[in-house]
Amino acid sequence: MLETDQFKINIGPVHPSTHGGLHVEAVLDGEIVTDAIVHLGYVHRAVEKIAEDRTYAQFVPYTSRLDYLATHLPTLGYVQSVEKLIGVEVPERAEYIRVIMAEFSRIASHLIFIGSLAIDLGATTGLIYCMRDRERIMDMFEMTSGQRLVASYMRVGGIAQDLPDEFIPAARSFIHDLPKMIDEYEGLIMGNEILQARLKGIGILTPEDAINYGVTGPNLRASGIAYDIRRAEPYGIYDRFDFELPLGTTGDCWDRLNVRVAELVQSARIIEQALDQIPEGETKAKVPRVIKPEKGLEVYHRIESSKGELGYYLVSDGGEKPYRLHVRAPSFVNLMVLPLISRGGKLQDVVANIAALDPVLGESDR
């Protein structure tokens, strides 16, 4: 027998497969990973401290920058938490527009996921197709908010402005074309034998571990647990829509990919229903210019973001700025299982595991 030493290989913080500034120290015994130590904080911007120094309304743009791949989702969670604190009824039309924007964000985020998973495993072309289609969503965001990546479109009490005339046709045409796009990904990405070999049976997360480690979102559903906050604790008007929860069976990276592909279809279904039902009317409720929730009020509000459970814990001291704001970032909690699912695998599987957990470092580091 040859004697082997354990040695360490750094993946990141500057590495194309780390989705931002993620640093993973892989401890190797030969080719086998015995541990993966995750170092976070390379994109820490002290968002929670900044919040204590901004008014409730001023903080909205910061939320867009948490999960910049699904820009409307963190904003939705934040404005809804503030609305819960001050008890505002959001106009119907604004609620529908929020749902449409939130689901388009989810699709955009999942497209990045599919594309970046492909490119991380060497299938460069995959990314190009997903980026091409995501571009249409970015155009729609630009139409409505003037911003492509970090829209800050939602406001406490509603949304910034009504939809422009060209939005609904663009949205309908995207929904119409989505099945064709998915067919293309099926052939190009999911149908690729090498990609399948790199994902099947890799990074298995059992349902028990998923719950113990607080994993949420598509990663939890890939492990076979039908838990979605849109179902379990509907926020906004999510109780009005009909959609399914795609589930995985083995909880490996392949399931995590397929759950997200299936969620594209479900999000499109929700958007379609919302486009059919959307009423005319106001898009912003009357909200005091200076928002001052009562002293001692606090709320933990959570939404189903594209990454999982995104929660805001807000505490008010009666002033115009939050006394404390805590963001429960799904990427942060989900990354906790990376060492667990990487142990015993090969170094190349660590890259697949990172990509399949779909972390966004802007959110996990805050």
Binding site: G41, A46, E48, D53, A232, Y300, R328, L335, M336
Partner: protein, 149 residues
């Protein structure tokens, strides 16, 4: 999984803990306020006997003399929610880790330690998670001033 309602559970807990537990609620949550020493026992009880298996959020607030630690806990099969609250004094900011009950507390407790400076006893690896290891101070404390402000 035993059949129970939230009211039954609160009653049972109240009988066990008596005056050590104070129950309050607002329109969003039911809060169980206990002394720091009781948190681990209560957490175990909630997880093992009542199915509260999802520690969603573990956070802390600086109230000057004391730090408040809040645990927002959900039950995935039963779809219930509850919150535990406790206060630790500023000059002796430490509490038992709930890692043994919910492993997800691992990084969440590290974050509270990192940013608020609360020590979690018996945590397997209590080091900073977001800030550099040589950083001084705990920035979410109210006496930590931002530069230029």
């Amino acid at each position: 999984m035993s059949e129970y309602s939230l009211e039954d559970m609160l009653q049972a807990l109240q009988e066990q803990l008596g005056e050590k537990m104070e129950v309050s609620s607002d329109s969003f949550f039911t809060f169980l306020r206990v002394a720091p020493g009781e948190v681990l026992g209560l957490a175990k009880n909630l997880r093992e006997n009542y199915g509260f298996n999802h520690l969603a959020n573990l956070s802390s607030v600086d109230y000057g003399e004391t730090f408040e630690i809040v645990y927002h806990i959900y039950s995935i099969p039963e779809n219930d929610k509850i919150a535990i609250k406790t206060s630790v004094p500023r000059n002796k900011a430490e509490i038992d880790s709930v890692f043994s009950v919910w492993p997800t507390a691992d990084w969440q407790e590290r974050e509270v330690y990192d940013l608020m400076g609360i020590k979690f006893k018996k945590h397997p690896n209590l080091i900073r998670v977001l800030l550099p290891d040589d950083f001084e101070g705990h920035p979410l404390r109210k006496d930590f001033k931002m530069e230029g402000r």
